[in-house]
């Protein structure tokens, strides 16, 4: 694989592969890794379930007494029923929607802040870089879960959005550092100098010339950060700080906890398994993507 990358670099001067060709190369490498395909498959499945699942499930997830309460899995309900006779499968499907909503929204916020800070710091350097990086260092040391607990317990309304907002606002420093270091190297590249010499504006150099080249590490990092946000939401909900109106996997686990050792072990077990499978999917896919895109950064 090393050999391939090297020869590609060598031909870079004369032959610029089109975006489609590059995408195809990534796809080919990704396909070669079974684990990455497996992870990608899980991610795709969970996304599809989150979007379309609720239209297919046999029961309304909110409807009580559709089954005998606490019916075990593989009886009248495929994955059993909870203490109020709700269908577990339908509840899990709805939970996917909440978890992915949190994961993707928070990661978008992280990307918005992290990219902006990293690009500005790396491209302009000097004092502005120094200031931005000190701020990044400070945010990096903030204990995220603690601040989340404080924020969520203080603002008792709109729990889900407080979680998204606070975790996204605290999650960007690592991304900013990575983007900055990419920009530091790339701004010295010949193609940037060439662009500058023909009078291309800073904005255009940043967004059109450097950013696309830094995107690989950004995408890998963001993919592997999504499970974190899902964890945060689930943990907070489990601890009792969640949004009682959002039917998330964390809430199911909190409600199922008293039944764990006795007559309903599946209520808390299945949502946890769902989280495990989802984050496994994102992590495997991210790992595979890293290899396919030739990124050297470590996830946090």
């Amino acid at each position: 694989m090393n050999q391939v990358t090297k020869s590609e670099e060598e031909t870079d001067e004369v032959y610029e592969p089109s975006a489609a060709t590059q995408l195809f190369t990534v796809w080919r490498k990704l396909k070669a890794s079974k684990l990455a395909v497996f992870g990608g498959g899980i991610v795709l499945a969970v996304i599809l379930i989150a979007i379309f699942g609720v239209f297919v499930t046999p029961y309304d997830p909110g409807e009580m007494w559709v089954h005998k309460p606490l019916s075990p899995p593989f009886s009248e309900a495929i994955l059993g029923a909870d203490q109020w006779g709700r269908d577990m499968l339908s509840l899990l499907v709805l939970g996917a929607r909440v978890s992915l909503y949190v994961g993707f929204s928070a990661v978008l916020l992280e990307a918005a802040i992290g990219l902006t800070v990293g690009m500005i710091a790396g491209y302009f350097g000097g004092l502005i870089d120094e200031v931005l990086m000190r701020i990044t260092d400070v945010v990096l040391t903030l204990p995220t879960l603690m601040l989340l607990i404080i924020a969520v317990s203080m603002f008792q309304i709109g729990g889900l959005h407080v979680i998204i907002l606070v975790s996204g606002l605290l999650g960007w420093p690592f991304l900013a550092r990575v983007v900055r270091s990419e920009f530091l190297t790339l701004k010295e590249a010949t193609f940037v100098e060439a662009a500058r010499s023909v009078g291309v504006s800073n904005w255009r150099i940043i967004t059109r010339h450097i950013l696309p080249n830094a995107m690989a590490s950004v995408i890998v990092l963001l993919t592997m950060d999504i499970p974190w946000y899902i964890f945060y939401e689930a943990s907070l909900t489990f601890l009792g700080f969640g949004d009682p109106t959002a039917a998330s996997w964390g809430i199911l686990m909190e409600k199922g906890r008293p039944f764990l050792g006795t007559e309903g072990w599946w209520i808390a077990t299945f949502p946890g398994l769902a989280i495990l499978i989802t984050s496994l999917g994102f992590n495997l896919f991210g790992d595979g993507l890293r290899d396919a895109l030739d990124v050297t950064t470590r996830a946090r």
Binding site: R134, D137, V138, T141, L142, P143, T144, L145, M146, L147, I149, I150, A151, V152, S153, M154, F155, Q156, I157, P227, F231, A234, S235, F238, L239, G240, F241, M253, R257, L260, G261, W265, A268, T269, P271, G272, L273, I275, L276, S279, L280, N283, L284, R298
Partner: protein, 326 residues
């Protein structure tokens, strides 16, 4: 840059960080809807009467503008006065000092356990890359950082406490039992510690393991290893003396994040296992919205995190002199 100037520089950075965090915590708590006094009354109607309220208003300067309130709070904090909890009817500092040893004990065990396992498995898995051991280790690590810790905790309770009945499900000691000797007490305490410590270290171990493995792989590929082998050194000396020493450098930085990571994890795990440490206390305090305790406790936790980061930075500078010339 010498080590002394480096230390001073790191210390100077800590001060604004600390104040910034105090400002964030203060504003989070004060900008939120609901005011502390009404809440204190609701929580403890017997203790809080009009005289107490008037005293509180003066003590915390609640009739003053918000930045004056902040300054009053910071001033008190710097003098070691973290306030008084009207929910627990005790000074905050006293509450914290009772809980801290429980969390420290948990964290030390977790650290030692994760470090030992991560280094051993990381080295084996790097030296025997692509072997079955390597594959299994990678799989274990993958599950370790993909599984939510509280869920693992629940499963642990289900399996080891309720089904197999090997270990106690929660708490600090077996209640209502008398032990003949102090060793029985220790053993009982240790039994209660096993489950929460193992679950908490599983996630952290997975990160450390991945780090040790990748930095070990990198070290094994470097030129000085080739030189060492060319000199005819035994494989054991090459791996443990030459490669491992260098591979462990990044672990030192990671250890700095450990306290922050583990304190977050402790909040969850301590709650699952009702372990009476700082983490479960934090959750309890936040649930009861006990403002003064919440502010004091979060500042103490912040301080712990900042100090551990500082220690990690300094140890890194000591073990790797290059960092000081950055």
């Amino acid at each position: 840059m010498t080590l002394v100037t480096y230390t001073i520089r790191r210390l100077i950075i800590i001060v604004p960080t600390f104040f910034l965090i105090s400002l964030i915590i203060f504003s989070l708590i004060h900008l939120a809807p609901g005011d502390p006094i009404t809440l204190m009354m609701a929580m403890n109607p017997a203790r809080v009467n009009q005289t107490v309220i008037d005293e509180l208003i003066i003590e915390y300067g609640l009739d003053q503008p918000i930045f004056v309130q902040y300054l009053i709070w910071v001033g008190k904090m710097l003098r070691g006065d973290l306030g008084y909890s009207y929910v627990w009817n005790a000074p905050v500092i006293k509450l914290i000092s009772v809980k801290t040893p429980r969390t420290l004990e948990l964290m030390i065990i977790v650290q030692v356990m994760s470090l030992i396992v991560a280094v051993i498995l990381g080295v084996v898995s790097a030296v025997k890359q692509y072997s079955l051991t390597d594959a299994l280790t990678k799989l274990g690590a993958l599950i370790g950082y993909s599984a939510p810790s509280f869920w693992l905790g629940l499963i642990g309770i289900l399996v080891f406490a309720q089904q197999l009945d090997w270990l106690p499900a929660s708490g600090l000691r077996t209640l209502g039992e008398t032990f003949p000797t102090i060793f029985h007490v220790w053993f009982d305490h240790f039994k209660h510690l096993i489950l929460p410590a193992s679950i908490l270290s599983f996630g952290w171990m997975a990160y450390l393991l991945r780090l040790v493995r990748s930095s070990m792989l990198e070290a094994l590929r470097s030129d000085y290893i080739l030189t060492a082998r060319a000199k005819g050194l035994s494989e054991r000396v090459v791996i443990y003396k030459h490669a491992l020493r260098n591979a462990l450098l990044p672990v030192v930085t990671y250890e700095g994040y450990a306290v922050g990571f583990l304190l977050g994890g402790a909040a969850v795990i301590e709650s699952v296992f009702t372990w009476p440490g700082l983490g479960s206390f934090m959750v309890e305090v936040a649930t009861k919205r006990d403002y003064s305790t919440l502010m004091g406790l979060s500042m103490i936790i912040t301080l712990m995190v900042l100090l551990s980061n500082l220690i990690a930075d300094l140890s890194y500078a000591i073990v790797d002199p290059r960092i000081r010339y950055e």
